[in-house]
């Protein structure tokens, strides 16, 4: 099931990128798709973590939330860059609880933190995340754990 | 409009290059090169529409991937001094011994 959808996805990807339907190009595409599927199978990377098919319907819901956060964070950082004051920033290094049950959830969480400007995940360990934040406000905001709750609510809830 | 956008992107690339030349640490330089690469991808994309040949977008696509791999490879070289030892070892690894 996983492999069928993977091959189907690769075929669609090839056709969408090439846009030609000559037999030669389609044959080349078939060879590439099969080679990619074979190599992925050999590397053993088609599993529920690196190819989370069961979550694919939930990601758009989460990413719509994440885009809002990214835009808000961008405006905040832009204000700080263009501010006339001498030091409009107050860098912080904080540790926040991991608060995600699965490895995939923790990676999504760390990735989202890094993706929003103003916060960068430096270290992801067994039970905590080390985060560098650009300002005290952002750090306090992150420490409330709203983003982690949103991930749990939007991605993992049935 | 495309020309104005390209010029602005070129200015940004210049700023990134200035940071890459002056950056006090190696990591500043690599980060600046990463930013330069991202702007290059965008410049190629804008150029594709400026010249009206949208096939050029494929090059931007490939450049985005190569930029990422290049940055990670450069980081690995800086951190370990070579490309073949693996991450997360503590202490010394004997010469020629697989980890």
């Amino acid at each position: 099931m996983r492999y069928i959808s993977f091959v189907l996805l690769l075929v669609l990807f090839w056709i969408a990128l090439s846009g030609h339907f000559e037999p030669l190009l389609l044959a080349l595409g078939a060879v590439s798709v099969l080679l990619t599927a074979f190599l992925s199978h050999r590397m053993n990377i088609i599993d529920h973590e690196s190819y989370p098919l069961h979550l694919s319907l939930k990601f758009p819901i989460y990413y719509s939330y994440l885009f809002g956060e990214i835009i808000k964070a961008n405006i905040d950082v832009i204000k700080r860059i263009l501010s006339w004051e001498k030091t409009p920033i107050s860098p912080q290094m904080i540790e926040i609880p991991r608060s995600q049950l699965t490895d995939l959830g923790a990676v999504i969480y760390a990735n989202s933190i890094t993706l929003t400007p103003g916060t960068v995940t430096i270290k992801l360990s067994e039970d905590s995340l080390t985060v560098h934040a650009l300002s005290k406000e952002v750090a306090d905001d992150l420490a409330t754990g709203t983003m982690s709750k949103e991930i749990t609510k939007r991605v993992f809830k049935e | 409009m495309y020309i104005a956008a390209s010029l602005a992107i070129l200015v940004t690339m210049g700023l990134a290059l200035a940071r890459a030349l002056s950056g006090p640490t190696t990591y500043d330089r690599i980060a600046a090169v990463n930013m330069h690469g991202t702007k290059t991808v965008l410049l190629i994309a804008v150029f594709a529409f400026l010249s009206g040949r949208t096939d050029v977008l494929d090059i931007a696509l490939v450049y985005a991937l190569i930029n990422f791999i290049g940055v990670v490879a450069a980081l690995k070289l800086v951190e370990h001094g070579n490309f073949h030892t693996s991450d997360n070892y503590d202490g010394d690894v004997k010469e020629g011994e697989p980890k």
Binding site: P117, T119, I122 | I9, T12, A16, A64, L65
Partner: protein, 100 residues
């Protein structure tokens, strides 16, 4: 016509945000804070420029390729940022923190 104006605005604002990020990497004091400035050019600036171009392209293969470029940037840039920050911290580079 409206689409043309909208895409021009998106393109120019995106390119201007790139310059803001470029100023940011010169204004901020140390490596870790500069990473945040780079984050702007990687996310919002790229999003706006690619969206502006996609509006010009309409529903075509070019728009799909632009979307793919955005997806690649969107997934690789946090990975690169994290790798940079982790490597810098691993090598003992101390961030300048606010003393309060």
């Amino acid at each position: 016509m409206i689409i043309d104006i909208l895409s021009s605005i998106l393109l120019l604002v995106g390119a201007a945000l790139g310059i803001v990020g470029g100023i940011g990497i010169h204004r901020f004091p140390d490596f870790y804070t500069r990473l945040h400035a780079i984050g702007i050019t990687d996310t919002l600036s790229a999003l706006m420029i690619l969206l502006g171009l996609a509006l010009q392209a309409g529903w075509s293969i070019a728009a799909f390729k632009l979307a793919m470029i955005f997806v690649f940037l969107f997934f690789t840039s946090p990975t690169a940022s994290h790798a940079l920050a982790y490597a810098a911290q691993h090598s003992g580079l101390k961030p300048k923190l606010d003393q309060k």
